[in-house]
């Protein structure tokens, strides 16, 4: 088993909650989490519906390994239609919330409709209640979390919550759980807020006792933990430096997008990378990084727990920020740093705190600020728009200010909340938006890492590194080294990463395990935990089925193969420096082969044959 086989359906329009059995047929085909919830979404919503209207649904979903003792088995995802991209949104988060859902006895919570007034959902084991949240509306995630803890007087509750940015309609608002873990991308927080749902509070004391073969499971889990511990990336690099271990690496290979991707290397990378977080500060002798923190059951512990220099301009009069909280991860550090040209690690940490405090995706936020800075330097956006702020590349003040106004949805922050695509369209320069399908890029320039260009262009949720992380192969040599500047062979590589990732996500595990684990390490854990036979081959099949299900949803939502592309800058403007100097993305060379491998038409359309092959719903 390992599924609780129970889902909670919450109708916000009627204010009702009811439980229903999990569709096990679907679970056999889609495993759990990302795949299974998408199957529900496909079944239950019109792909063309208004993402911010009552017809969209929001699904919080766990995998069969969520809440088990498998390393990193604490993930949950939020699945809905994205307001940022119009495509399927599936945002994955760690922390402890997902495991607690399982301990309370739920595989999934489906929210439908829209509440007339703000509410939050309180789940205590098998009892779930909608509670008024009028007093929480208008509060940040951190304030609401505090208020909910006060109210329920239980230090052990786990809370997922949206902040003011979501309430104000910021299109890349995140759902933040455990104060600084987030279902970050694609505006899932915006959807949650659109339903007048402020938070979900969960407490589970029933536990997870339904592993299919406990002794076999313990054995495979122990073997898996050993592999993670002995691997240089998961055993040493990530615990010590977090994902920030990548900052200098990616800069050196010439794939660190800088200043809205005008440049490909950042002169200040060394100031904002993983090593810099260990450097003692002048003011108090303490480093930015206090310790590393793990998500539930994670034996890697890449999470950063950081402080901001109390003398830094951003917080010197704000003791409420003198605490430890979630520090810089690589993607956030890149978006807030190199992409905006800011090399002030305290400013980055402050902006990151604000992203957590008010629930914003720091990748989309930073990239949007970067686009706004380019628009400012181009003279399109002026101090009249910003109310006086000089929105220049490299300005730490501008970054901190932008985070403050966007978090609260004030003034120019409303424009920044539109995301890069809509912002650039609004100001008449759509070509300056570094997005795919409306979602901002993460921290790898596809000119310097060719496979990532294809991964971004074809990602089912818009530009994203977590849908096919070929960086592992192209830079880190995992599972085998490929040349980052070579586009040949990348179609198959991208497809393999995409399918594997979908399966790993759907199990409830963290994708970072795959720095060390292959599917041969993962499948046995799923197999021991779940009923039925879960071989490596079946896992890969499930992954591919999920991929195509998502793709089919997007097609039905009106997103065609024409949108499998990259901004002109990456296709036409050669990289300015580094090993990739002069190179553009060879997307056009990779895409046809990719479509062929996927069984799509030459225009990228889903064919009936492929649909039938994977038994996708009509």
């Amino acid at each position: 088993m390992s599924w609780t086989r129970k889902i909670l359906r919450v109708n916000l329009t009627n204010g009702t909650v009811q439980d229903e059995p999990l569709n096990m047929e679907w679970a056999n085909d889609y495993l759990g989490q990302r795949g299974l919830a998408t199957r529900y979404l496909v079944d239950e919503i019109d792909p063309k519906c208004d993402a911010l209207g009552p017809d969209n649904k929001l699904i919080m979903t766990t995998g069969p390994l969520t809440g088990t003792i498998a390393s990193t088995g604490g993930r949950y995802s939020v699945v809905c239609k994205s307001p940022l991209t119009g495509a399927v949104a599936c945002s994955n988060s760690g922390g402890f919330f997902g495991a607690e859902m399982k301990f309370a006895g739920w595989d999934m919570v489906i929210f439908e409709g829209k509440s007339a007034s703000p509410v939050y959902l309180h789940i205590e084991n098998d009892v779930a209640r909608l509670m008024p949240a009028d007093d929480l509306w208008g509060q940040s995630v951190w304030a609401a979390d505090h208020a909910l803890r006060q109210k329920h007087q239980d230090p052990q509750v786990r809370i997922a919550c949206v902040g003011r940015s979501a309430e104000q309609g910021c299109l890349y608002a995140a759902i933040v759980n455990d104060l600084h873990r987030a279902a970050g991308r694609s505006g899932v927080g915006t959807v949650m807020a659109s339903k007048n749902l402020k938070a979900v509070v969960v407490r589970g004391t029933e536990g997870m006792g339904n592993v299919a073969d406990p002794s076999q499971f313990m054995q495979t889990v122990k073997a898996g933990k050993k592999v993670l511990a002995e691997n240089a990336v998961t055993g040493q690099g990530l615990p010590a430096y977090g994902t920030q271990v990548l900052m200098n690496v990616i800069n050196e290979v010439g794939a660190l997008p800088t200043r809205n991707m005008r440049d490909i290397q950042f002169e200040g990378a060394n100031e904002v990378g993983g090593e810099a977080m260990h450097e003692p500060r002048k003011s108090d002798g303490k480093p930015n990084l206090t310790t590393n923190g793990a998500c539930y059951a994670c034996t890697i512990a890449c999470g950063r727990i950081s402080t901001i220099d109390r003398t830094h301009f951003s917080v010197k009069d704000k003791p409420e920020y003198w605490i430890n909280s979630g520090g810089l991860e690589y993607e956030a550090a890149w978006a807030l740093g190199p992409d905006t040209g800011v090399d002030d690690i305290d400013a980055l940490t402050y902006a990151n705190f604000l992203c957590n405090e008010d629930g914003m995706d720091p990748i989309s936020f930073g990239s949007t600020v970067a686009a706004a800075m380019e628009l400012f330097e181009e003279g399109v956006i002026t101090t009249e728009h910003t109310g006086g702020m000089e929105l220049k590349f490299g300005s730490a003040e501008a970054l901190c200010w932008a985070a403050e106004v966007t978090a609260k949805g004030e003034g120019f922050g409303v424009d920044l909340g539109l995301g890069s695509k809509r912002l650039c369209e609004k100001y008449g320069r759509p070509e300056l938006s570094m997005t795919v399908k409306g979602q901002e890029f993460p921290a790898y320039d596809p000119r310097g890492i060719q496979g990532m260009g294809l991964a971004y262009a074809t990602s089912n949720r818009g530009a994203c590194h977590l849908r096919g992380y070929t960086v592992a192969s192209e830079i880190l040599g995992i599972p085998e080294k490929t040349d980052p500047l070579e586009s040949g062979g990348k179609a198959g590589l991208v497809k393999a990463f995409q399918d594997a990732t979908a399966a790993v996500d759907s199990a409830g595990l963290c994708i970072f395990t795959t720095f060390a684990w292959t599917m041969d390490d993962i499948a046995p854990q799923v197999d021991a935990a779940c009923e039925g036979d879960w071989s490596t081959e079946r896992m890969m099949e499930v992954g591919e089925r999920i991929w195509n299900l998502e793709r089919d949803f997007n097609q039905k939502a009106g997103i065609s193969g024409a949108e499998d592309t990259l901004p002109t800058r990456l296709l036409k403007e050669g990289a300015g420096s580094g090993p990739a100097q002069g190179r553009v993305s060879d997307l056009d060379q990779m895409l046809p082969e990719y479509y062929q491998l996927r069984g799509y038409g030459a225009d990228g359309s889903m064919t009936d044959e492929t649909r039938q092959k994977w038994s996708l719903p009509a």
Binding site: R149, Q150, Q153, P155
Partner: protein, 422 residues
């Protein structure tokens, strides 16, 4: 050296064992009043509820435990003590000499002086024999009136409820377990009992009991009610067993007066447990606490002082209680009722029957009480006993009282004031 211990409850048994530990060669005689091996009164309710056999109540389970420690068990009751001659006279006339004496005779249930209190079918619940009588006379559906919703009453209440009897509780005070609850908590316990189908009449007294016609008994209350019932269980109070000490020269107040070495007013005579009026750590005053942990600690401390002489004075025991009232667990510690000029933090969730009340003097926790909590409750004792300064954690607790364990880890652990053995 001959040590004699009168009374084989937890204080007496612990004292005997520690005497043996401290003095391997001395002669130890433990006087057992009842015709059964030393047993725990605390376990009686579980016997009553059929959860354990009578052997399950025994303080020590190992066969030959006392023999192996060369502790002589002597069945008998003391009738008087000649402290000059250091000689005890037993009921029946036998005598027993001692060099050092520990009195740990505990307490006895009392019955209020009302008409009919001595009728058949009116029981105490104090001894194993009492429990046997209640077991024999009740079955599911039997009507039972329980007089007294104090600490003992509530424990019995749990056991009676588990016997599925039709239960009515009559309590003179305005709330349940007034000795360990404030108004809020007492009422929450009452609400809980009512929700479990138990009739609870607070601020009500029994005026008389008479033989019934349709039922065994008829209980009359000062509210003008007459309740037919099969059985009355009387749990209205206890008193220390000190009657046999008349003329011994040993000072008696509410219990036997002891000093900070648990010695009575007469040299070489000590007292421990429910019979002793020992020092209360929180108030510095001398009270009969009548609780298991204090009895045990008294026993150990008395044994220590009897063997080694008087070294470090006893700082007193933290008064504390834990009670399971038909499945609802309540605790109280130290000055749970608060202190003048102190601060109070309260958390109350009536719907879920959870409650926590903390009492501070400055930034030191001096008392606490809780309802519906089972995890880490011992830290309340830890914080009170260490008397540690909570600093900023006091403010945190004022806002979120249930962050107690964190406060304990952050403060008591790091200030590590001695939590040494008593």
């Amino acid at each position: 050296m001959h040590y004699v211990i009168i009374g084989a409850g937890p204080a007496g048994v612990n004292a005997a064992e520690h005497l043996r530990q401290y003095d391997p060669l001395g002669k130890i005689t433990l006087l057992v009043a009842e015709d059964v091996p030393p047993y725990s009164r605390m376990a009686l309710p579980y016997y009553l509820a059929d959860n354990i056999p009578s052997e399950g109540t025994y303080l020590r389970k190992e066969p030959g435990h006392f023999e192996s420690l060369k502790i002589d068990l002597l069945q008998g009751r003391a009738s008087s003590i000649d402290t000059q001659a250091k000689r005890i006279t037993l009921l029946g006339g036998d005598t027993l000499s001692y060099d050092k004496l520990l009195i740990s005779t505990g307490a006895t249930a009392t019955r209020p002086p009302i008409d009919g209190i001595d009728l058949d079918h009116v029981h105490n619940c104090w001894t194993l024999k009492d429990a046997d009588k209640i077991v024999a006379s009740t079955r599911p559906g039997s009507h039972v009136v329980l007089m007294g919703a104090g600490f003992i009453g509530c424990i019995i209440l749990e056991a009676l409820a588990e016997r599925e009897v039709d239960l009515t509780v009559i309590e003179m005070q305005d709330r349940m377990v007034a000795r360990m609850t404030n108004q809020v908590m007492g009422n929450m316990i009452k609400d809980w009992c009512v929700s479990k189908g138990i009739n609870v009449k607070t601020s009500t007294g029994v005026t008389s009991i008479e033989k019934g016609t349709d039922s065994a008994l008829l209980v009359h209350t000062n509210q003008g009610e007459s309740l037919p019932t099969d059985v009355v269980v009387c749990a209205t109070g206890v008193r220390s067993n000190t009657a046999f000490l008349d003329g011994s020269g040993i000072d008696i107040d509410m219990g036997i007066v002891v000093d900070d070495y648990l010695q009575t007013s007469v040299p070489d005579v000590y007292a421990a447990g429910d019979v002793a009026q020992g020092r209360d750590m929180s108030t510095g005053e001398y009270h009969v606490q009548a609780i298991q942990p204090t009895a045990v600690e008294h026993g150990r401390l008395a044994a220590h002082n009897m063997v080694y002489g008087h070294g470090v004075p006893h700082p007193g025991n933290v008064n504390m209680n834990i009670l399971d009232t038909a499945g609802l667990i309540s605790t109280s510690f130290g000055l749970w009722m608060g202190v003048e000029g102190g601060d109070e933090a309260e958390m109350c969730d009536r719907d879920n029957f959870t409650y926590l009340n903390l009492q501070f003097r400055d930034d030191v926790l001096v008392g606490a009480s809780s309802l519906g909590m089972t995890q880490h409750v011992g830290v309340m004792r830890g914080l009170i006993q260490t008397g540690c300064h909570l600093g900023e954690w006091k403010d945190k607790l004022m806002k979120a009282p249930n962050r107690l364990s964190e406060a304990y880890l952050a403060c008591a652990q790091s200030q590590h004031k001695a939590l040494g053995p008593v």
